[in-house]
Each structure stands twice: as structure tokens, then as C-alpha cells.
Amino acid sequence: MSVNYEVLSNRAAPTSETKLKTEKVNLFYGTFQALRNISLDVPKQAITAIIGPSGCGKSSFLRLFNRMNDLIIGARVAGAVEIDDIDIYDKDVDVVELRKRVGMVFQKPNPFPMSVFENVVFGPRRHGKTNRHELAGIVEQSLRQAALWDEVKDKLGQSALALSGGQQQRLCIARVLAVEPEVILMDEPCSALDPIATLRIEDLMRNLSDDYTIVIVTHNMQQAARVSDMAAFLMMEEDRAGTLVEYGPTSQLFTNPKDKRTEDYITGRFG
């Protein structure tokens, strides 16, 4: 098609190792089915993008992996969702433990109304770290990883809400990194940011993907093409339940989609 995406396919192909996996997963909110029969393998230490039109269940799908849907009354999951081959919806799974391993960054930057320092150490403190020296180390390391240290190192005691939107979002990423997760889920992390802040977050994501498995939901197809290794295209059926239309390496999905609906979507015919 005529639309050209700048696909950064010169990166090494993702390892074949699977980190997250869904097997015929169905999600219900009461009687409404939000997701239908989605099976997908998310590779380790790579960025997997979930794209699709509004309301197709992208965010709901992302929230399966850290069981955030649990917070919604009436939400029910059928099928398997696995991390390292362990079913996370098993009765024996400790949700708190799971969320330590699977961190999440939200659409709107949501730092706590506390100091920068306290934001970063929120997770470590909850998980029993109290040594001030150790916490200070965690703060510096996490903020450096989130490419925010140089901007905030002199105002760690100041309110996080005084930072700019892009800085706040990087702080939220640092806050997740401080818990030392294996997976980072990102729910449209740049939709509230300006283009420059967006590019900084994308750079950051690329750097983090060497160590972390990242799953990102995005509305922005250029963004998906720029940052992701794998891409999944979700769409809703007539009853509004989200289904997986196509899943594959980003370069393939964007340059040579197999499904007509994917092609229509990425060339801007709808959505």
C-alpha cells in the first residue's frame, strides 16, 4: 500500500523463548464478552505491540497479564494466561507476587501526590525494604534507568506533581522498575504526551527491552511500527467482543499483512 511505516527491523529478531502466553482466553464483564478466544505468545525481552480500533479490548487484554481486571466487579476469565508456563489465574497464585513481576504503566501519568523519592520507593517499601541507604540506591538506579535522574536528582524531595507530563510518565516507569519486574505492561503510555516526550519514552522502551519483556497497547500505529518487535492486531466482532485478527513480527504485519482487515486498518481505511 501507499502508506510507509518506518519499521526498525534492523534489530535482532526476538528470541524464540516465550515469556507470556494466552491460550484461548475469553474475558467477560458480567454477561458482556470483551475478549474471545485469544491465543498469543509474547516473546521474552522484546516489545510486543497491541494495536486496534477503540473499544476492541486492547486495554482489557493487557490487564489480563497483571490481573488488573480482578478489580472490576463481575469480570471473569476463561482460558489460560501464563507467565513462564505458570497459569496466573490459578487459585494458588499470589496476585501481589504476580504484580511485582509484572509492572504496569498507565495511559495518564499517575504519580502519587508525594515526593519524587517517595514515588520511586513506594513499591520497594511495600515489599519490605526500609533501609534508607538501600532505598536511596534504588531511587538513583531506577531514575537512571528511566532516563530521568539528571533532570530530577536535585529535586527528589519535591512533589512529583510539579514535574512535566513526560517527566511524570518516566517517573511512573522508574516506579515500576524499582520493583524489579520481569514484564512491563504499558497502556497507551504516550497518549497524554507531546511528540518530544513521546520520542523520549520510545527511546527508553527500546533500551529497556534488552532486559525486560514489554507489552504496549497503542493507538498510534507509527509508534507500534517504530518500537515494537512483534505486533498483534485486535478487532471487535459484531457483538463487540475483541478478537485477534493477526499476530506476527512487526515488519511483516506492517509491510506485508496477511489479513485484509489488518491491511485496511494500517492503511487508514478505518479505525
Binding site: F106, F112, P113, G123, R126, S159, R175
Partner: protein, 313 residues
Amino acid sequence: MLQRGASPATADSGLSMSLRRRWRLREKTIESWIFLNGLLAVVVLLGVLILLMREGLPVFLYTSPLKFLFGTRWYPVSEPPTFGMLTFFAATLWVTLISTAIAVPVGVGCAAYLAEVAPSKLRETVKPVVELLAGIPSVVMGLIGLLLLSPLVQSIFNLNTGLSGLTAAIMLSMMSLPIIVSVSEDALRAVSNEFREASYALGATKWETVRHVCIPGALSGIAAAIMLGVGRAIGETMTVLMVAGGALAVPLSPTEPMMPMTAAIASGIGNAVRGGLQYQALFAIGLILFLMTLSVNLIADRVLERQKRKFAR
């Protein structure tokens, strides 16, 4: 418009001009109405203060403020009369502190349960019921205290009489509970969900989320709730008059019978000659009571301001 011979454009702008003027007048009226209302509150407050000072301060021509505050003998009709209100002040302190110590943890805990844990159906039933409790007349609470609580207190603490500061404090805590629960619950529910989600996503438990995110986020509202509760406890008269025991000795323990400042004013004012020394002394107690609640509020404001700066919300 055309029939009047004016061009449509002029007629139009004339119309919008008059519309705008009327709108501005309306706006000004509303503005000044609100301003007057605000002013009224200040005027009433100052009026109360001036009245209390005019009626109460003359007693200090007779006795020194220090003697008045720290004297332990209150004999308004002996010759010469002595006015030392420490007895009443200590009683008010005991009763207020204990009732607050009971009502705050229970009230905030109840609010946290209703706001964060309880299923919405339960919350929708329990909250109105709790709020109804606030409407029970204080005389009725006094009767309940006399009938049910005081025998209980008497037997548990093995006292000569069940009428004590503790009995009054327990009744007062029940009376301030509804306000604390209701206002704190509103404050907790006003905390944005995005903070809860962030906390859960970082692996915090429900309790940790409530303790470290919801309650700090709702702190200004909770503090206001506590102030309202404390204010009620300090100012409540009828219940303490009925169940606190009314003894005229400085209470050293909460289980002693005692007479808080409000009860002292209420029981004394009937016998006081208008404008007489005792009358002035009772007004002076009222003035001190007023200053106490005022300073509680000011301190709370200061604390909240600092908290706000720290959280910079």
C-alpha cells in the same frame, strides 16, 4: 428587525449589547449575594466573640486570669466568692481526649471499610443508618448513658458510681462517630481511582493501598471530619450534664465523676444573677471554650496546610 428600518447587523449588535448588560447585572447581583453570605459568617463569629468578651471579661477585674484558669475552687456564692475553673477545664480535657481517642480510630476505620472494602449494596444501607445516628437528640443519648452505659462502667471498673468522665466520653464518641464516618468516607471516595490502580499494579495489598494511598490522599477531608467530631465533643452539653457525674473536684482519673465546662455553664447559669459576678464568670468560661474550639480549628488548618504543601495536591 427589518420592519423597524434598521439594518439587521445594527439591530443584532444592539440586542446582544442589552443582553450582555443584563447578563452582567445578573452576574453582579449573584456575586454580591454570595459575598454578603460570606460576610455574614464572619460578622456572626465576631459578634459571638464580642458578646462573650463583653459579658465575661469583667470578671477579671475581680479575680486574676491566672487564678481563674488554674484555681481549683469554684464557690460562686460563698463570701467572698472564688472562681477557679481548673476542675471544669480538666474535666473537658479528659472527656474530649478520651472520646476522640475512641471515635477517631473507630470512625476512620469504619469509613475506610465502607469506602474501600464493603460491597456497594452494604455501603448504601450502612451509611444512611450511620448518618441517622447523628440525628439522635443529645438528651436521648444522655438517657441511654444513664440507663445502659453507666451501670456497665460501674461494674467493669468497680466504681461507687457509674456516672463518670469515661461514661460521658463513651457517649460523646458515639455522638461524634456519625460525622467522622460520613465526612471521612466522602473524602476517601473522592481519592482518584488512578492512584489505587497504580498502587495495586506495584504489588501493594488492599490494606497497604488504603493505608499508604487512600488515607493520605483523603487526609484533608479526614482531618476536617476529626475536627468536626472533636468540636462536637468539646461543645456537647446535655449528655455530659446527665452522665459525667458533676463532681466539683479536679478529676485525676477518667473514671471519676466530673463536670466539664459546658455542664458547669449550663447548671450554673440558672442561679446566676444577670450581670453579677457568677454570671460574668460563666461567660468567661464560655469565652475560653470558644477560644479552645477556635484554636483546635486553627491548628488543624495549619497542619493541613503543611500536609498540602508536602503533598502539593
